[in-house]
Every structure is written in structure tokens, then in C-alpha cells.
């Protein structure tokens, strides 16, 4: 199901916790599984559950709780824009509208060329730097004015 490399990484996560509390490693294991597969299919979650000796639905709970886990395939770049209240007050809703217009897609949609997926995010702990956009769960971009958003899309578009 997962590569030997990924399993090695998951084992490393498991080793961080007491032997009878393997399921503490579920978040790390899901991140690793997602890194390899790009998203978390039902079978992937089932596998992680089996590997950690926990109920599949408990893995499902975790995977659905955090929106950095992808439960369906995404484009090459997943842009997550925070729309929580502080960001919203500082213009993230307008920024989101701009992104939607620029990419021609709504939330939870992927562009036809498979490059971009737009997601609505929850608080990223950077309210003072709103609006914030997270690229592929790893790269945080702050103070996202429309110009900066365009620049970001252009930059990523070249990479794709």
C-alpha cells in the first residue's frame, strides 16, 4: 500500500510514543501517507488504521477534522486561504474572490489544467498578517493583496 520509505517514516513517528499508544502517531502517519499518495483515499486511511491498530473510523475522524488532509485528489498546487473571522475582517474574503476570479474556480474545485485547487482554510495563527494563503500545506504567504496573489499564481504557473 505505502512504500518502504514511507513506512520507515511512519515507524519513526510511532517510535515517539509509548508502545501501547501507537495511535498517537496517526496525524504524522496521515501526513506521510498523503505526501506519498497526494491525497487520502479510503483505502489509504484503512491501511493507516490497520498499521496503527486503530478503528478506521477514528482515522477518518482525524483526516476530516484537519483541512490540511486532502480527501480527494488535488491539483499540483493547493492554495488554502483562511476565511476565519479575523482574516475575513481584514479582507481575506475579497482576496478569495479575487483568487476565484483569477483561477476561474470556486472553493474545493480544481482548474481544468489540474494545476490549482482552491480551498477554504481555518485559522493558521497568522491573523495579524491577513490575508494569508498556504501553498501545498507547506509554504505560508502573508499580506496577500491582489497584486501579491497574482504574482503568486504567476510564479506557480511557471513551475507547473
Amino acid at each position: 500500500m505505502l512504500s518502504a520509505e514511507s513506512l520507515k517514516r511512519i515507524d519513526r513517528e510511532i517510535a515517539k510514543y509509548p508502545a501501547d499508544q501507537k495511535q498517537s502517531a496517526v496525524m504524522g502517519a496521515l501526513v506521510i501517507a498523503q505526501d506519498e499518495k497526494g491525497w487520502l483515499a479510503t483505502e489509504t486511511m484503512d491501511f493507516v488504521a490497520q498499521y496503527l491498530g486503530m478503528a478506521p473510523v477514528a482515522v477518518y475522524e482525524v483526516a476530516t477534522f484537519y483541512n490540511m488532509y486532502n480527501l480527494e485528489p488535488t491539483g499540483k498546487f493547493k492554495l488554502t486561504i483562511c476565511t476565519c473571522l479575523p482574516c475575513g475582517l481584514q479582507g481575506s474574503l475579497d482576496a478569495a474572490d479575487h483568487l476565484k476570479e483569477r483561477l476561474g474556480i470556486g472553493f474545493n474545485e480544481t482548474t481544468a489544467d489540474g494545476r490549482f485547487t482552491l480551498k477554504e482554510g481555518e485559522c493558521m495563527g497568522a491573523c495579524s498578517m491577513a490575508p494569508v494563503v498556504l501553498v501545498n500545506n507547506r509554504r505560508m504567504c502573508d499580506y496577500m493583496s491582489n497584486d501579491k496573489l497574482d504574482a503568486l499564481v504567476d510564479e506557480l504557473g511557471k513551475k507547473a
Binding site: T42, M45, D46, A55, P56, A58, E61, F65
Partner: protein
């Protein structure tokens, strides 16, 4: 331990350290409104309904999650408390549909009840409400209206903590949170129905009951579950003389506040089309209805004729282990009145050698509630979860506290609890494996090794198990149904007795059926030279009797060897069957007398701990069916036997229980242990059969319960083989093959990697495997 004193609503109360404000309030009898709190589940504190005012706390605190402290002052009905509770209720009702009249829970809904006290008269919320899609989570629990869910997570916690398997979970968060099973899965736990009871709203409801009645139309009557040996206390809910629903009656000493799905949903069988409603007689190949006087006259006359011609020994009486104490008592009285000692209720047993050495009535050896006081347990030969769902649940709770559970069995099904050591061996190896443990424990304890086991060699597995068992202070050795039905059951019993003696612990039987203890109490077993069930059903080659009296028995499915049972009944001149179900005996009997199931008769079941629990009929007998004790009474009168003049079932019970001291009669000891003969096991050419009796095929009533028959546990039996044996036989999973024992059956192959080598697991109690023969024996696989 020092107690804490606190004050709730001006009343002082003492509670132990660690108690919550909710528990203190309950002790005082002060009701704090709540949804997510449940005394048997962990604390979630997510409904917030139980907010109360606590002195010096700036905001209201949840009573369920606030630890009581010494000198604490709590107000549950002060203005801040009530204001907080009302605000929570307003939030809960924002997304909850306000259409109680069309909700199945209406009238018995905690949210509805509390909304009367704490809800507004109108909603201030004018925005769209959220909608949660309905789900199909199986044939028993309906999740049709998940929009009604208030996310208390009681069902999730029940699964995790009591049932031992988390089948429901809450996905997403905030406004999008919803209760689901893992993508497309059903809820298959044998305790799943309890989720319906604990759901405080109409989100999880009973699928079979849904929209068949309103709660206030139902009459509630107490009863006792007729299935497993626990004897769960029930409330049977009745409308127009029809049982529409069964729910638990709380009894901490027996079933706590739970019941198994078998006890809950088997009532559908009571209303099945297969109910026999009139006496019937076989006229050539045709069945014809006759009236009661004719039927009873015929039964009396034929039995009398056979007794006169061939003697009482020519008559055999077989009683279901699910029959009431009164039915068993009159059945044996009738048999003995006819001069026959051939009477038995242990239909699935194969080994009766212990009978001559029994010191008393075999039982659990302790009280059910005392399971909580054990620290070491060995369960031998039990399909624990399926045979004893609630005893398994009790063991699950104690293993969480560090109690060491050890298992000796022939299959390795997931018990959903912590098992310290386990030894999974072929059925023929069970006695020697247990003997090894006896020897290892003797060695570990420094005690003399009993003569009978001195020849065995202790191995690492038995040493590990002995180390676990010997390290405790309160051990118990419990034999399950598989051990009781084992061809060397008496050896297992003797070894179990030796082992518990070495451990200075308890020894007992989990018990096969609702009245397995009651059968002995009623003396429904041969007392002298009489034939036991095995002999009467031809297990040991004993010739068929000329006449049989069957009480509640479905011989083709309830006996150890259905093939032999069929042939001896076919060879008999006259078979009279008291049965609630027509199809149960039409193949075997000559005369059918419609008897009443447990809801239509008064009676008593003696559960595994020796607790005699009586119940009354909750509905009238269907059509012309009659309580079996009345039928037996009239038969006794018809035959001119004395001692059949009872006015009520209570009179039978009282006379029986007054004639003995039930608690003192309970005794698992065997007078001698020379019964232990550990011969070398002969190598079998074929595969050893391991037969479980699946939970929903175990008795005639549950076999006719429609919804249970759609459950995952009611799937048709398969031929389970280990991967190695499947390869050897050249078959693969999913393939249909012919299996040969004393007869043949066609079964689907399935692989169970945990089965011991040389074994094949084929369930009993099902029509598709009844043609194979005895529950233990040698199987061969013939490719179809």
C-alpha cells in the same frame, strides 16, 4: 478514603474523591439536565446542557466534568445556571428540526422533554438550518434522520468503551460535524442496539420498530431474555397484544443497563408467519388441523399405548435449554410418570461422562457482578463475544483496569479486549493444552503436580499462561459453550476444577442457554439409568426410542448431530412436539401442539449465576397456542398421572424451589478426577471440525427474527480453513466446494489465517450445514 462534602442547592452531600458535581447531584436526587453525560460512559462534556453555577467561578460550569471539591457550593437552578442552560438549549435547537410530530423518537425524546423546560416558545433563528444526510448502517439501527443529531457522541463512546469496537465516529468539525460509520460500513457489533437507547434524540432509532407505534400507545411489561445464560432483564413493549419492541430493564447485577441485539430484536420471531397457531396432525404426508381435545387425547393415548407395549424406557423426552423452569419440571415429571428416565435438555452436548460424578448443579461458580473483583481469568473454549455478549463486555471493562485475561480456544476471533496470553489449538488438543497449563501452574505455585497431568510436557505457551494466572490473588477458570459441547467436555471440566483448585480461585461454566442451570434445578436430566440427550439422539449408536416428546426443540438445528437426530426421530413410531414454530418440527413430528413463546407464558429462567428470575406473560397466547406448562399439565392429567394439579406456573416453581435449596445445590465439583484420560491424539486424515453456534442461529426464536437474520453475524456459514490447509486441499477463498462429514454440504471456502492447522471451522445451527453431522468430527473437502 476521606469523603468530600459539598453543597448543592443548599443541601449538603458527601461524595468520594474524584466524583463529579453531576454524581453528587445524582446522589442527592437533584436532576441536572444533560444529554452527553451517561453514567456508564466516559465524560465528553460536549453538549453543555448540564451547566450549573459554582461559587467563585465566573461562568457556569458543566456539572458532568467538574470535579467536586470540599466545601464547594453549587446551584443548579439559580438564575445564572438556568440562563446558561436555556442558552445552550437555544443553540441546540438552532439546527435541530422542530418537527417532533413526525419524528419516531417523539414522546420519548430527551431533547423534546428538556426543551419543554428550557426551550423558548418560539425560535429566534430564521436562517437556513443545516441538513445532514441519512446513512444506512445496517438492518438494526436506523440512521435515517441524522439532521436530528446533537453531536453528544454517546453512540461513539458506547462503541469504543462498551462494545469494544469503534464503528461510528464524528467526522469534520464545527457546523459540519456529523456521525458516520467508516465509508460505507455497517454497524455490526452484537451490542449495537444499545446505541438506540442512549441516543438522546431521534437520530439513531430502531429500524424494525420505526414508525410502528408511538411510545405512549405501548404498554410496558417486565420480562426476562430467553436466549443466553445471562438472563437479561427486559421491558417488553406491547400494543394490541403484539410485542412491538424490547428494551433493557436496568439491573446492575445482571445486565447493567444494556442488552444484546439478540435479546432486543429477537421479538420479531414472535410475530413470524411460521408461528403454529393450532394443533396439527400428520395425516399420511399431509398436515391437518385438529382441535385441542382431540390432540391431547391422541397424545395421551399414543404415549400410553407405547408405554404399555414397550415400557417407559421406549419413550424419550427432549426439552429445549431455552424452555422455562416450569416447562422443564413438568416435562421430566411427565416422563418419569410414564416410567421413563430418558429426559434431557443438553441437546448440543457430546460428552455426558461427568453426569455420574456431579456433586451439584453446574453454574458460573460465582456471581456475575463478581467478575469485576477478579484479577486473573482463564476462559476455555468459548466464542465469548457471540455466545455471551454482555459477560464479554464485563470482561472488557475489567481488562481495561489491568485484569489479565487468558484464552484457551480453537479459534482466534477478535475479542475486542486486552488478552494477556492465548493458546489456540485444535479441538482434539484442548484437553492436553489445559493439562499443560495445570501442570505449569502447579510448578509455578510449587504445588504437587496432579497425577493425571504428570505425563504432559510443559511448553513455553503454558508456562507463560501459568505465570499470568499464578501471579494473581483472585483467579477464575471459566468454561465456555465450546468446552461444554466438546467430545471430552468432562475431561475439560475435571482439569478446570484442578486448575482452579491450584489457583484457589473460582471455577464455573458460562452456560449454554437461558435455562441451562434451570434444567438441572428442574431435574430435567436422567437420574439413573436413563438415557441422556446424546443417547436419545443416537450420538453413541443407541437405538431410537419408540416415542419422543419434544418441548420447544428444533431437532434439525438444536442438536449436536442433526443427521442422527433426524434418523432417530424418523425411526420413532410417534413424536409429539410442543412448539411455537411450525417449521421447527414438521419434518420430524407426528403431532404438533402449539406452545407459547416466552412472551405468552409465565415462567422462570435460572441464569448462569443461579438467579431464578420469574416473569409473566406480556401478551395473550397467539390464537390457539397455549403455555407449554399448561399443555404438559393436561397431558399428565390425560395419562392419569398424579402431581399435575397446578393452578399456576408459580405453584410449580414454588413447589420445586421449596423442595431444594438452590444456592446450596450449585456445585461444579466432580467427585473424582480419574475422568482425565489424556490419550495420545490420533492423527486424523481429514480436517477437525470446529463448530460454533452463531449468535443469530442459536435458538428457534432468533432464527425467525427477520432483521437479525439480515445482520452481518447471520451470514450463511462458510468453510473456514487456514491458508495452509486451503492450499493443501487445493481450494481458494470464495470457491464453493463440497464438504463431507457424515453427510455432505456445499459451502463457500474462506480463509482464517489464525485457525490452527488441520482444522475447519463450519458453524452449526444453520440449515446449510445441518446435513454434515455432528458438531465435532472429521471433515474432508471434495471439490465441487
Amino acid at each position: 478514603m476521606a469523603m468530600l462534602t459539598l453543597e448543592i442547592d443548599g443541601k449538603s452531600v458527601e461524595v468520594p474523591h474524584g466524583a463529579t458535581v453531576m454524581e453528587a447531584a445524582n446522589k442527592l436526587g437533584v436532576f441536572v439536565p444533560h444529554f452527553c453525560y451517561h453514567k456508564k460512559l466516559s465524560i465528553a462534556a460536549n453538549c453543555r446542557m448540564c451547566l450549573v453555577q459554582v461559587e467563585k467561578a465566573p461562568k457556569a460550569m458543566p456539572a458532568c466534568a467538574t470535579p467536586a471539591t470540599d466545601g464547594m457550593k453549587v446551584w443548579t437552578q439559580s438564575e445564572p445556571a438556568v440562563k446558561a442552560q436555556k442558552s445552550v438549549m437555544e443553540f441546540l435547537l438552532i439546527n435541530h428540526p422542530l418537527d417532533c410530530p413526525i419524528c419516531d423518537q417523539g414522546g420519548e425524546c430527551q431533547l423534546q422533554d428538556l426543551a419543554v423546560g428550557y426551550g423558548g416558545s418560539a425560535s429566534r433563528y430564521a436562517e437556513p438550518k443545516r441538513v445532514v444526510f441519512h446513512k444506512n448502517i445496517g438492518p438494526l439501527v436506523s440512521a435515517e434522520e441524522m439532521t436530528r443529531c446533537i453531536q453528544c457522541t454517546r453512540c461513539v463512546r458506547f462503541g469504543q468503551e462498551v462494545a469494544g469496537v469503534m464503528e461510528l465516529g464524528m467526522i469534520n468539525r464545527g457546523e459540519h460535524a456529523e456521525i458516520v460509520s467508516f465509508v460505507g460500513k455497517t454497524v455490526d457489533s452484537e451490542l449495537s442496539g444499545n446505541m438506540i437507547d442512549i441516543c438522546p434524540v431521534g437520530a439513531l432509532t430502531s429500524k424494525p420498530f420505526r414508525y410502528s407505534a408511538r411510545t405512549w400507545e405501548l404498554t410496558r411489561r417486565k420480562s426476562i431474555a430467553p436466549h443466553d445464560s445471562l438472563g437479561s432483564n427486559l421491558v417488553v413493549q406491547v400494543k394490541h397484544d403484539k410485542v412491538l419492541r424490547v428494551v433493557p430493564l436496568e439491573n446492575e447485577a445482571v445486565n447493567e443497563c444494556w442488552i444484546s441485539d439478540k435479546d432486543r430484536f429477537s421479538y420479531e420471531g414472535l410475530n413470524s408467519a411460521d408461528r403454529l397457531t393450532k394443533p396439527m396432525i400428520k395425516d399420511g404426508a399431509q398436515w391437518r388441523e385438529i382441535d385441542w381435545p382431540q390432540a391431547l387425547e391422541l397424545a395421551g393415548r399414543r404415549l400410553g399405548e407405547i408405554r404399555n407395549a414397550a415400557g417407559g424406557d421406549a419413550i424419550g423426552t427432549l426439552v429445549s435449554p431455552h424452555a422455562t423452569l416450569e416447562e422443564m419440571s413438568l416435562a421430566q415429571k411427565l416422563a418419569r410418570g410414564l416410567g421413563s428416565d430418558n429426559v434431557d435438555f443438553r441437546l448440543r452436548r457430546a460428552d455426558f461422562a461427568a453426569d455420574s460424578q456431579r456433586a451439584g448443579i453446574p453454574w458460573l461458580g460465582m456471581n456475575i457482578a463478581d467478575i469485576g473483583a477478579l484479577d486473573r481469568v482463564l476462559v476455555v473454549g468459548s466464542f465469548l463475544r457471540k455466545d455471551h455478549p454482555l459477560i464479554a463486555s464485563r470482561l472488557r471493562q475489567v481488562t481495561k483496569r489491568g485484569v489479565q485475561l487468558n484464552i484457551l480456544h480453537s479459534t482466534d476471533d477478535d475479542l475486542l479486549m486486552n488478552v494477556t496470553t492465548k493458546s489456540i489449538v485444535a479441538p482434539s488438543e484442548l484437553p492436553s493444552a489445559l493439562a499443560r497449563i495445570v501442570k505449569a501452574v502447579a510448578e509455578a505455585k510449587g504445588a504437587a503436580v496432579p497425577q493425571s497431568v504428570s505425563a504432559v510436557t510443559v511448553d513455553d505457551a503454558s508456562r507463560a499462561m501459568a505465570a499470568s494466572l499464578a501471579s494473581g490473588k483472585a483467579a477464575a477458570v471459566l468454561l465456555g459453550n465450546f468446552a461444554e459441547q466438546h467430545p471430552q467436555a468432562s475431561v475439560l471440566q475435571a482439569l478446570g476444577q484442578q486448575l482452579s483448585g491450584l489457583l484457589a480461585g473460582e471455577f464455573g461454566f458460562l452456560g449454554e442457554a437461558a435455562n441451562s442451570v434451570g434444567g438441572y434445578v428442574a431435574n430435567c436430566v436422567p437420574s439413573g439409568k436413563g438415557l441422556n440427550a446424546g443417547a436419545m439422539l443416537g450420538l453413541d449408536g443407541t437405538a431410537a426410542r419408540k416415542a419422543y416428546i419434544l418441548v420447544g426443540v428444533e431437532p434439525g438445528l438444536d442438536s449436536n448431530d442433526p443427521v442422527r437426530a433426524r434418523s432417530v426421530l424418523a425411526a420413532a413410531d410417534f413424536v409429539v412436539a410442543l412448539t411455537p414454530f411450525r417449521s421447527a418440527v414438521t419434518d420430524h413430528a407426528d403431532l404438533l401442539l402449539p406452545s407459547a413463546p416466552f412472551t405468552e407464558t409465565s415462567g422462570t429462567f435460572v441464569n448462569c449465576e443461579g438467579r431464578a428470575q420469574s416473569f409473566n406473560a406480556v401478551v395473550k397466547s397467539l390464537d390457539e397456542s397455549r403455555p407449554a406448562w399448561k399443555i404438559l399439565r393436561v397431558l399428565g392429567n390425560q395419562l392419569g398421572l398424579s402431581g399435575f394439579d397446578y393452578d399456576s406456573s408459580e405453584a410449580i416453581r414454588d413447589e420445586l424451589l421449596a423442595s431444594m435449596s438452590l444456592p446450596e445445590s450449585l456445585n461444579n465439583s466432580l467427585s473424582a478426577t480419574d475422568i482425565v484420560q489424556l490419550g495420545s491424539t490420533t492423527q486424523l486424515a481429514g480436517l477437525q471440525r470446529i463448530a460454533d453456534v452463531p449468535i443469530y442461529f442459536a435458538d428457534p426464536l432468533v432464527r425467525r427474527a427477520e432483521s437479525l437474520q439480515k445482520a452481518a453475524d447471520a451470514k450463511a456459514p462458510k468453510l473456514w480453513l487456514s491458508a495452509g490447509d486451503a492450499q493443501k486441499a487445493g481450494v481458494a477463498a470464495g470457491q464453493r466446494v463440497k464438504v463431507r462429514q457424515s453427510g455432505e454440504a456445499e459451502l463457500e471456502v474462506a480463509i482464517d489465517a489464525k485457525l490452527p492447522a488441520g482444522c475447519a471451522r463450519v458453524a452449526a445451527g444453520h440449515s446449510s450445514t445441518a446435513s454434515l453431522g455432528a458438531m465435532s468430527g472429521e471433515l474432508s473437502v471434495v471439490k465441487a
